[in-house]
Symmetry: C2
Subunit: 197 residues, 2 copies
């Protein structure tokens, strides 16, 4: 019964390409990073890209979708006790802000990759823009599940308030470099929770 293999190593080159592209796009921007640089840094042949993605835009879309999947999986798996069932829901929401503060402090922090994607591909019907919007919707639903569970009077509104604060804090932290934004957002969240639960 030799079945416990981790995963068939299919498309190793493309996966490495995706990881490298994710890093470079996030650190320097989608238009600022060229194909040649990505494949050189990934140590991969040019055709490894075009055999798997029809264009740079589609590669970017795949990167964005990959990040979204990873983020949501991490949140739902219980990253930083957010989904910890023993904690009261309000505490789990506030834990999110602590988590964001830690994120802002990381040296690689460069803001929200979805906000950046939507900014660089402003057309609402562009696949990359749509992928970014999709993620924000997933995030909202994730928050709404918690506010509902917390017994909020208006779960959707409270979830949107949390999302507004998280989004604002991330944007300000990236623009001004002031990671205190997370702490300030947490204070605001505490007050909104007190009013809305």
């Amino acid at each position: 019964m030799a079945q416990a293999e981790p995963r068939p190593r299919r498309k190793r080159g493309y996966e490495k390409l995706l990881r490298t592209a994710r890093r470079l796009f996030y650190q320097r921007g989608f238009h600022a990073v060229g194909i040649s640089e990505i494949i050189a840094e990934a140590g991969v042949a040019r055709m490894t890209l075009y055999n798997n993605a029809a264009s740079k835009d589609i590669l970017i879309e795949a990167v964005i979708e990959g990040v979204s999947i990873d983020v949501m999986a991490w949140l739902e798996r219980g990253g930083a006790s957010i989904a910890e069932p023993t904690l009261p829901p309000a505490q789990r929401l506030l834990a999110l802000f602590d988590l964001f503060e830690a994120w802002f402090g990381e040296p690689e922090f460069q803001g929200c990759i979805f906000a950046k994607a939507a900014a660089e591909f402003p057309a609402h019907d562009h696949p990359v823009h749509r992928a970014a919007a999709r993620h924000k919707r997933r995030l909202f639903e994730f928050l709404q599940d918690i506010t509902t569970e917390a017994g909020a009077r208006q779960p959707a509104m409270l979830a949107e308030h949390m999302l507004l604060l998280l989004e604002g804090a991330t944007a300000l932290a990236q623009q001004t470099g002031a990671l205190i934004a997370a702490r300030r957002a947490r204070r605001a969240a505490e007050q909104l929770l007190a009013a809305g639960l």
Copy 2:
């Protein structure tokens, strides 16, 4: 002999170039729009750019700074009754959210140009990034003046809460296309004002 400094000549071509660049950069992104397209659309010679700005980056910096000046002047002049001295300060803060809602509804709305600039020029010491951060600081001080005048217990914190909500609403509106974000942000602002005044 202290002479009156020579009146700067009008540089009509360059000013038209700046206006066109502002529009194109905002609508489609800084890296996505090339020099040739800008000068073609402005109907201006290539050298009109390079006689006034040493590089594309410096042109972008000038554009950003110009937008910041216009925005701040408009706010301080009393755009949409925000600086209307007859209104109570709390109402003036809330008027800002109504104003943002109207902005989100404009067909040309594409988010915050400063957030986009900071996203496309992520290096904190890049002149364009610094210019964007500068504007956010000005905005914060503008808000802080009002919260102070309103007699807030912690004017700085309240101002940052307002900024977080405005920033978050703008980011979400651009990414998801949902202009309801402004209305939701206003509701949150009402609650935070009630708690903080």
